[in-house]
Symmetry: D2
């Protein structure tokens, strides 16, 4: 059980100490033997990222709040021949975060990659109508839990000589989505969280970057696009020609976790189909 861990530690050391041009082999499987945790990954963008990391060679541990959803997603991805396991994890609960990390350590000897995804949005409507309780929930899951999830994996990443974190924010971080005010504010906070974590963790060889998806066609966002008229209006106002797919977000996340991104940290990449973002 410890043997793959040892092997991996050696790999990590190599990664750290020798700068080589990536080889054809490393390109086919850029995350070979890496161990990746992905939260909120039994559906939508999280699931697409989990699949891609596994396709790129990682051992992936997926998670979300319901056992049934975890089981289904694991079965699906294993059915595609991928190295994927899963465990229930409510990222807002300390014991769940710890169990998720412990699961990866038990299964694969450590953690190299964390994709910190969570998109609680218990309220659609005016930001003026958001109650204290809803603010607590949104900031507690979308911001605080993202920080604490990182905190939970850092000791394991340090044992491996480094690692990579990608936090999932939203284009709403830059420009308000109507009816998604509090959610958008929490996503803006993640841009800052990324910068702060990157600055603090650089000395431990841990990179922290951020993904800001635009309007992606998922169950989560369907309130925005399931009505054809609303969808067309959104596309018009966002100046995009098509809605994005979860897969559109997966490649860049895998890239940011790979050796090819080793000089990229503290950055947010927008996957928005040309919708206004920032310079």
């Amino acid at each position: 059980m410890r043997k793959p861990g040892l092997l991996l530690r050696t790999c990590a050391w190599t990664w750290k100490s020798v700068r080589m041009a990536s080889t054809a082999a490393s390109r086919l499987k850029p995350l070979e033997n890496k161990v990746a945790l992905v939260t909120a990954s039994t559906d939508g963008i999280g699931l697409a990222i989990a699949r891609r990391l596994a396709q790129d060679g990682a051992h992936v541990v997926i998670s979300s709040r319901k056992q049934q959803n975890v089981d289904q997603a694991v079965a699906k991805l294993q059915g595609e021949g991928l190295s994927v396991k899963g465990t229930v994890c409510h990222v807002g609960k300390a014991e769940d975060r710890e169990r998720l990390v412990a699961t990866a350590v038990r299964l694969h000897g450590g953690v190299d990659i964390l994709i910190s995804n969570a998109a609680v949005n218990p309220f659609f409507g005016n930001i003026m109508d958001v109650t204290e309780e809803v603010w607590d929930k949104i900031l507690g899951i979308n911001v605080k839990a993202m920080a604490l999830m990182t905190k939970a994996v850092v000791p394991e990443m340090e044992k491996r000589g480094g690692g990579s974190v990608v936090i999932v924010s939203s284009i709403g971080a830059y420009h308000p989505f109507p009816s998604l005010g509090a959610y958008s504010v929490s996503k803006t906070a993640l841009l800052g969280l990324t910068k702060n974590l990157a600055a603090e963790l650089a000395q431990r060889n841990i990179r922290v970057n951020c993904l800001a998806p635009g309007l992606i066609k998922t169950n989560f966002s369907q309130i925005l696009w399931m009505d054809e008229a609303t969808k067309e209006r959104l596309k018009e106002s966002l100046k995009i020609r098509r809605l994005g797919s979860p897969e559109d977000c997966a490649g860049i996340v895998s890239f940011l976790c790979s050796e090819d991104a080793s000089y990229i940290t503290g950055e947010t990449v927008v996957v928005g189909g040309g919708t206004p973002s920032r310079l």
Copy 2:
């Protein structure tokens, strides 16, 4: 008691419906007869803003968590001949927020201006060492309470035909301050809160802008500058020649609340002495 309110309502209406070049009189007292609430205003930047709004003609209601601090600040500003009253207000408490608004309504018949200041920072150190409790406190006061404080004044501003909100963020919103990680993240969130509130409140003729002070010499920030060596290092790294004073932040806030800023909303102005911010 109601008469000033009535008068003010008329002024607000005029403001809304007629665009005139501001006159010499309006420049001397650009906030004449406006009623302004300023939170966390018995010291530092908040106090300087309160003083300036009053100098510019506003009736100001200041507040902070301790009665003694409120009394001292009120005495000081009244001693300068300014129209300043005060009340205790812990912005994290709903009843305090409501009492603050009610005080202004009782004293002056309404509210035109809110300066939403709060800078809780119960923790200096690595962001990795921030606990759940500290996150809750920082996000709860610095983000959630700022939103809810706005929510509390909006109905009063609507009665007056509009109003102006300025939220106090920090240069830390754009670039990490070492040892101030969680605080900085909360300040980044305020950039988004400003955008979202501005978008939502535009139709009610309420503008929402944001101030991002750089390194300002206050009691709050003294941990950063009281040691001469640290101060010099900070100035070097921030590329500024001098630390700012609270007064450096006051003029722009008054400006943003004035008629001259009536086409500015959703914007953040950095007062940072040239320290790196953003394009």
Copy 3:
């Protein structure tokens, strides 16, 4: 003739060496005795800025490319009781820039303020159709000449112990305006020019800031709003309720040149009525 200059130099020295709260007198005339150059100021935003600086106490020298336009604008502003003179200046020509500065020195003994405005747009259409010649013109006037205009006044500002520059960019700097591609690119460059000039001139006590107007109702922009349908579509897409007026841009420019902004440098302020800009 030299006497006002001497007097002014003393004022500048006071400004530099003593930090006082601004007094009632200084608020009524915050730019009292300052000498201000404003380019492209016989119409639109430039004219509104020139008027406001003069109303705020400055001696203003306006300019634009045609003598007739200069004469009319000077007559108009003098008719309002303002201290305004004018001279022809094509900012793209070195001798014109120098004559403009020399005029101010001859009339008022020096220069304290430069408003660097220029908005050449010889081409509406696709950026793919912009020719070499048009690029040369747009970059030459909107970027290069703005830098060289600053260069021309810096020696005079140094003699006075400091000064203030405001460069006029556009909201197009942040987000493309359709059919205004090359123009927008030149305006993006100005965001960087502001940062670079501010960094370099800080040690000479010269502050450099930038104004980014949104959709302002001027002759220059009328191609965008004179057709009612286009105007409504623009307002819809810009999420603003009304077009701005040139006066909406004037107050902030005067503010940025005043003592109240003495800790603000390298910053851009958007006057856009809530149109998407940046965090």
Copy 4:
């Protein structure tokens, strides 16, 4: 000679009309059969990008101003078994730009990818000392020629059903590099050029993105790092632990040109090792 072109056109059509998960084969050679032009690519970042595109399956045409440099770089890359040809191209000259495009069409039947690199910096020193001539050169090459180079390839990309452009800017676009003022301003302009080109070319299925490298160890930048003390001071001020290598910039450029980035357009990615950039 036309056959590969035909084949490629079919591929492009497939790319456009069918959205498939990328397969293992496409990952090993994500740019298989694509034709890529890279300007200023016989050294430094441009060379590293050219090599990487070729390693990832593209037929690459490199270029720079001197035949000898082109010959050496072509020989080197061909010696690595890569499909690389070259031609002399001074991007500031219309006939050179056209010849570069014509070369690719002649050799490979069309163009799918353009990497628009150029970093003329004829002047180190204060921005106040930059002359008209130097401004013309810097803006003419670093901005105008980048736009016109894109213009030159667009018709060929349209014939293929789409394409991808990556413009090389610099971290200096966001924050001034001392002594590199005019250069930095030109790089800021490229952030806007990227946005404008992306907006305009989206309907032709051409994506336009931008790379902003931080301090990369190249001949071009050696004035900044060859002195050990300066290098250490720079690293300190940039908050990075090591200088980047040209290879650090190559992976992301290849990624942005690949199918995995098909929903990313108008964006700038910073490769800066954690140096302050933007949210």
